[in-house]
Symmetry: C2
Subunit: 343 residues, 2 copies
């Protein structure tokens, strides 16, 4: 049975679920730019004069981006939306609306006890983060699927020509990151170990999540920090740290046609994270940005600490783009994009 | 391995595929409103002053919305995009950009002979339709998945307050459809029969598709017709026929708070389609619209015939919203949203 193509498509048997989503979406974040929400062929969004749109989509699939046996559904919903919001943060865009395409095996829609079904709990995690960022759910699609998957679409807005880009960094620019690095990877390692040891995973369900897992299960996209960087003209180039510093910095350098050198000792390690986890771990969803060297950089942006970790350099022919200085040695830093569960 | 989150995310081993898509997208449709395409955290889209945005997402999953054993990959790509474009058509919106999240088993990315891999052929079908409608591919995501799936996002634009909606029909309005009905369902029935009989399915690969299958494999979304309806103020309410007339008309009536009566003998049957296929078949991707009775309706819209099939009525308490008149009898017409392959 194919879903009815409202802008939240739905199969016949899932009409209850659609109603739940529609009601929850209407109760949710302020509907400022949303002129027509769930229920027609498309959602209609208003844009302020002089703005342009930032749009991103991120696909999350069970067994690849999350695990049914160790991620609480609330965390999967939160992380799904966080991935998209973090892309908006990296552009300095304000969230306008989110769209969710959700494919799940039928049994995940069956209510179990007080917490509701897997899907109910997934949506709860997603809506809670959406409300925090004032981002309404404006539409999407639902379908039965042999494997759980969620594709999130974020539409944001920024003044035309002012969005932050990966290109734009120049040799001599200083490199900064928001927050700390590696805590998500450290948390994931801990999650794997501990789940393997325990028969029940109720202990990681909200609100019992231990502090060591919070950065992995409930990462905070840096929307306010991205907006501040853009409004105050502080960043010459920016990217979000989704795949890890080594990989994301290489991307920023590539798009800027530049190289970079970072100092290992300056990395702001999160919690129990190792330098390796900070360099390659990924999923911290912090912002990495380059700034002109004469700018006075504040110590914090919207309450989150900023740390200088190195600088943009001229690219050297035949040399890797990114180098790392540890004590007195300088070595190439290869991008080691992070493997999820070895898949 | 998680995809790198450019606005076309990609896993390490799929970088070639990303490059293919990026190159093909750059060669494709005019990039008018596209200010920044694939390669950053988000795509950036321009909007004309006074316009609002129409956004829709549609999820297609193998075994549910298409079959690996009988749909040529070009058709799956075409139909994926057609679903989204048809939603824009129903709003009278012009296409601005498409985004594609694609999840596939690794073997579908392996090239086979001259035609390329399943994914190459899927993309060829999608890009060909995108080019026809001047709709650039601006981003998306790629991931390995145990089942092939594609989530398509369409962003369109229309003058603020002028987009066509499902609501707005009034008792006395006349009901019209574009083109013909039922040919997609008739084609699908034929496809099932014939594939079951034949060992090879090369005969349905482009350009050998028999005429009887074209409406099912390569439906044409009615973008130009939707734009004309909107610009000339001809439609009081509109919806696209994705799930079948009986279901989609019920939705239009529900959103308009009205009822409707249609005449069976007036239905413009497509090819060998039966009345049942025209009523319930779905996937014709024609437009259904209501118009004030005093409007002079042209016989064609942008080259496609228009047929009056009935009218909007006052809803009767305790009666079904939609009735059908056949000869001298008038009966309720229950929505029979169409089952794809019985799943």
């Amino acid at each position: 049975m194919v879903g009815k193509r409202t802008n939240f498509g739905v199969a016949g048997g899932e009409l209850d679920l659609l109603r739940t989503i529609r009601d929850r979406a209407a109760r949710g974040a302020r509907q400022g730019s949303l002129r027509l929400g769930i229920g027609d062929d498309c959602a209609l969004l208003g844009v302020k004069p002089g703005e342009e749109l930032a749009v991103t989509t991120d696909l999350s699939i069970a067994g690849r981006h999350f695990r049914m046996d160790c991620h609480p559904p609330e965390s999967v919903g939160h992380r799904t939306l966080a991935r998209g919001l973090s892309d908006l943060a990296a552009m300095g865009a304000r969230p306008v609306a989110a769209f969710l395409s959700l494919g799940v095996p039928r049994e995940l829609t069956v209510r179990k006890g007080r917490g509701g079904s897997w899907v109910d709990r997934f949506l709860e995690g997603l809506f809670r983060l959406a409300d925090t960022h004032g981002c309404p759910l404006a539409g999407g699609d639902l379908a039965e699927s042999p494997v759980a998957l969620a594709d999130i679409v974020l539409v944001g807005a920024a003044p035309a020509g002012k969005a932050l880009r990966r290109s734009g960094a120049l040799p001599g620019d200083l490199l900064y990151v928001t927050g700390t690095l590696g805590a998500a990877a450290a948390g994931l390692a801990k999650l794997g170990e501990t789940v393997a040891r325990r028969s029940s995973r109720r202990w990681i369900d909200p609100p019992r999540v231990p502090a060591v897992l919070v950065a992995h299960l409930y990462p905070q996209p840096r929307i306010a920090q991205g907006l501040t960087l853009r409004r105050r003209g502080l960043a010459a180039a920016a990217i979000d740290l989704s795949d890890g510093l080594s990989t994301d910095l290489a991307h920023l350098c590539e798009e800027s046609g530049a190289g970079a050198i970072i100092q290992a000792e300056k990395l702001p390690l999160g919690g129990t994270a190792s330098v390796d986890q900070a360099l390659h771990g990924g999923e911290d969803y912090e912002l990495l940005f380059a700034a002109r060297p004469w700018l006075r950089m504040p110590r914090t942006l919207a309450g989150v600490p900023i740390t200088g970790i190195g600088q943009i350099a001229r690219p050297q022919r035949g040399m890797p783009r990114v180098m790392i200085e540890t004590g007195t040695t300088v070595e190439p830093l290869a991008p080691q994009g992070w493997e999820h569960f070895g898949s």
